[in-house]
């Protein structure tokens, strides 16, 4: 469990967490004709945690989520909730509330009736239904909007109502399939925080699908990076960023420079920019042309009349400025530094590029 989540969670969460569900995918495989959506997915979600499923479009995130909701069945493997295989349970008995990527409110029902729909299906009485709907509308911050119809609500409001509807039956698992992707940037940010707050309050085990790495890193307790139907790495955001397990993760999460290098006499060191650095993670054969992966904030620039690299551009990012440098061999390297320090590197300036003494990830050379 992420420590940050544990410390900031309200006290109620600690007790609720014991009743939260675990979710596990075991060797799940699913193919649509020739397209393999899930290729042996292994993933365990801890009780009460918000796990982000992150990956490029088409990597199988939605398929995984729909499997948990009961809209897809695995060709192979098990989907477990609280240690029980749920693949045989039909969708309407799954106990998993889902918020869809597209607007999915029932157009003929008011917001309150949308929220209460599940309760109506469960034959709960009118009075209790109304009370619960009001409570949920309050929870998502729209207590005044119960009478509105979906077409009278903004996109953000619709997704809030959808969230309230998904929570109405007190599901054991909350499934969010890119719920913010259709919204504009500002709404997205506030809703992000709100979903997180709600999720912590209810301590509900949550899977959050997104292709936006910033969204995943900022919201989740842990992030599972998927690639071509498989899990690449599942770790806390900081860990994922600092120690990506594979080159794919390294490049997908944050920005990564690829600087040409060459492995040394054994595969455990690499020569790059005139230095020898230990190799982190998977190694390559000795004396191979490789590429070294370095974050922009790790790159050091030195103003140097003799330097063979040239500053080709700067991009103001607020407190930081990203400087683009072209090395003598044509490689483009990005370096982040405080905007104050960046003032000494005007475009065209000659510089030397340096790297810190840390172990580095390497990848096969491309192109």
């Amino acid at each position: 469990m992420s420590t940050s989540a544990a410390t900031t969670a309200p006290p109620a969460a600690a007790t609720a967490q014991e009743t939260s569900a675990t979710v596990e995918f075991r060797q799940v495989r699913r193919a649509f004709g020739a397209a393999v959506a899930l290729d042996g997915l292994d993933l365990a979600v801890r009780p009460g945690e918000l796990l982000a499923l992150l990956g490029p479009s088409g990597c199988g995130k939605t398929t995984a989520l729909r499997m948990l909701a009961g809209f897809e069945t695995p060709d192979f493997g098990d989907v477990m909730v609280d240690g029980e295989d749920v693949t045989a349970v039909p969708a309407h008995r799954r106990d998993a509330g889902m918020v869809f990527q597209s607007y999915s409110l029932f157009p003929h029902l008011s917001a309150a009736d949308n929220v209460a729909f599940g309760l109506r299906m469960r034959k709960i009485g009118v009075a209790e239904r109304r009370a619960r709907a009001a409570e949920l509308l309050e929870l998502v911050g729209l207590p005044q909007h119960g009478d509105r119809y979906p077409h009278q609500l903004s996109g953000g409001q619709q997704q809030r109502i959808a969230l309230a509807r998904a929570l109405a039956l007190r599901p054991r698992v909350l499934l969010l399939d890119e719920p913010l992707s259709a919204l504009d940037a500002k709404v997205r940010l506030t809703l992000r925080e709100e979903i997180r707050r709600l999720q912590r309050e209810l301590a509900i085990t949550t899977l959050f699908v997104t292709h936006d790495q910033e969204e995943a890193l900022s919201m989740a307790d842990r992030v599972a990076v998927m690639h071509a139907g498989r899990l690449e790495q599942c770790a806390e955001p900081a860990e994922l960023y600092a120690h990506p397990a594979t080159a794919f993760v390294a490049e997908f999460v944050g920005t990564m420079n690829r600087i040409p290098g060459r492995t040394g006499d054994d595969g455990s060191v690499v020569e790059v920019l005139g230095r020898r650095l230990p190799v982190d993670g998977p190694q390559a054969a000795p004396h191979r042309e490789v590429e070294v992966l370095v974050r922009p904030e790790a790159v050091e620039l030195l103003a140097d009349e003799e330097g063979k690299a040239r500053v080709t551009g700067t991009m103001f990012l607020g407190a930081l400025t990203r400087i683009t440098v072209r090395l003598a061999d044509g490689t483009v390297v990005k370096a982040d530094m405080t905007t104050h320090a960046a003032a000494t590197f005007p475009a065209g300036a000659a510089v030397t590029v340096g790297l810190p003494d840390h172990p580095v990830l390497i990848d096969e050379r491309r192109a």
């Binding site: 909701a69 009961g70 809209f71 039909p90 969708a91 309407h92 008995r93 799954r94 998993a96 509330g97 889902m98 869809f100 597209s102 607007y103 999915s104 409110l105 029932f106 157009p107 003929h108 029902l109 008011s110 309150a112 009736d113 729909f117 599940g118 109506r120 299906m121 469960r122 109304r130 009370a131 009001a134 409570e135 309050e138 207590p143 005044q144 119960g146 009478d147 509105r148 119809y149 077409h151 959808a162 509807r165 998904a166 109405a168 039956l169």
Partner: protein, 302 residues
């Protein structure tokens, strides 16, 4: 009502500048098209109530009621319309929804099949049916199907006409229904309903159908109008629903009675359509009122 009010609001916004000319243009179009419909109608009505000798009289209309076969013909038409609409919706609604969920390739097939009747003239359909109905008894005389063939043609309720009308109304009804389904994300709504604990059937009945109300109503309208006015097939097959009776049955009567029947059938159709549209045509946009009371109370208590 709400439609009228909003229209009035619209026009008030248009006042000023060059807008009056626009309104005048609209007025002209309205008058011309109204005249196009109203003049023949008014002429017919006047003809039926104005006797050259006695002056104003409603005798043409009272005579209809006592005319031979009027009531049975009318009832038969209404029964046929009801049966056709029922069979049509029962066939088409599940098919249209299934096709939406089942994939785009199937949808193209269904669309073509549902459009086929458009290119088959009613006269060809009638000719085909006549052949089958003649051929059938001979070959099926010794089988249980003989009774089926007989029942199909029962003059009190010719099932064969219902079948023919279902086919003939298919293109209209399908289009109306498809237009309604097009405005919905059927797959997502179904999944959302199931996710909220509704089984497959309940998802359809409590989410999809209510949102298709306008489309279902349209399909019903078109089918009703088609059945009430259909002459060719019924006449050739030798049955006597309303449209056929107007032409054949009232032949013996004087001219004004025949016209009176036409006027009456027009009013009848309009009346039925109006009944249908007021009975089930309210849109969700007009509905917030009835539910607002209880929800407001609730806000007060929380």
């Amino acid at each position: 009502m709400a439609g009228l009010t909003s229209l009035r609001n619209d026009t008030s916004l248009w006042r000023g500048g060059r807008k009056p000319r626009l309104r005048a243009g609209r007025g002209t179009i309205l008058v011309v098209s109204a005249a196009y419909f109203a003049v023949p109608l008014i002429a017919s009505v006047v003809y039926t109530v104005d006797d050259p000798v006695k002056g104003f009289t409603l005798s043409a209309y009272t005579e209809i009621l006592s005319a031979d076969g009027f009531l049975s013909a009318l009832l038969l038409s209404l029964e046929l319309a009801t049966a056709t609409i029922a069979v049509m919706l029962l066939l088409l609604v599940p098919a249209a929804i299934a096709v939406r969920l089942g994939g785009p390739r199937l949808r193209a097939v269904v669309e073509v099949v549902c459009s086929l009747p458009l290119v088959v003239p009613a006269i060809a359909l009638a000719a085909g049916l006549t052949t089958v109905l003649k051929w059938g008894p001979e070959y099926l005389a010794r089988t249980p199907f003989y009774q089926t063939i007989v029942a199909l043609q029962n003059p009190n309720f010719p099932i064969v006409l219902t079948l023919a009308y279902v086919v003939m109304a298919l293109p209209l009804a399908y289009r109306a229904l498809d237009a309604g389904l097009r405005t919905l994300d059927v797959a997502t709504l179904m999944e959302a309903a199931q996710n909220n604990g509704a089984g497959l059937i309940r998802a359809v009945t409590s989410v999809i159908l209510p949102n298709l109300r306008a489309a279902l109503l349209n399909a019903t309208f078109l089918t009703l109008a088609l059945v009430l006015g259909e002459f060719t097939v019924a006449s050739i097959l030798g049955f006597q629903p309303f449209a056929v009776w107007i032409v054949n049955g009232s032949n013996g009567a004087q001219g004004s009675v025949t016209i009176a029947v036409s006027v009456l059938s027009l009013l009848l159709t309009w009346g039925l359509l109006l009944m249908l549209s007021t009975g089930g045509g309210r849109r969700p946009t007009h509905e917030p009122r009835p539910t607002s009371g209880p929800h407001n109370e609730k806000e007060g208590t929380t």
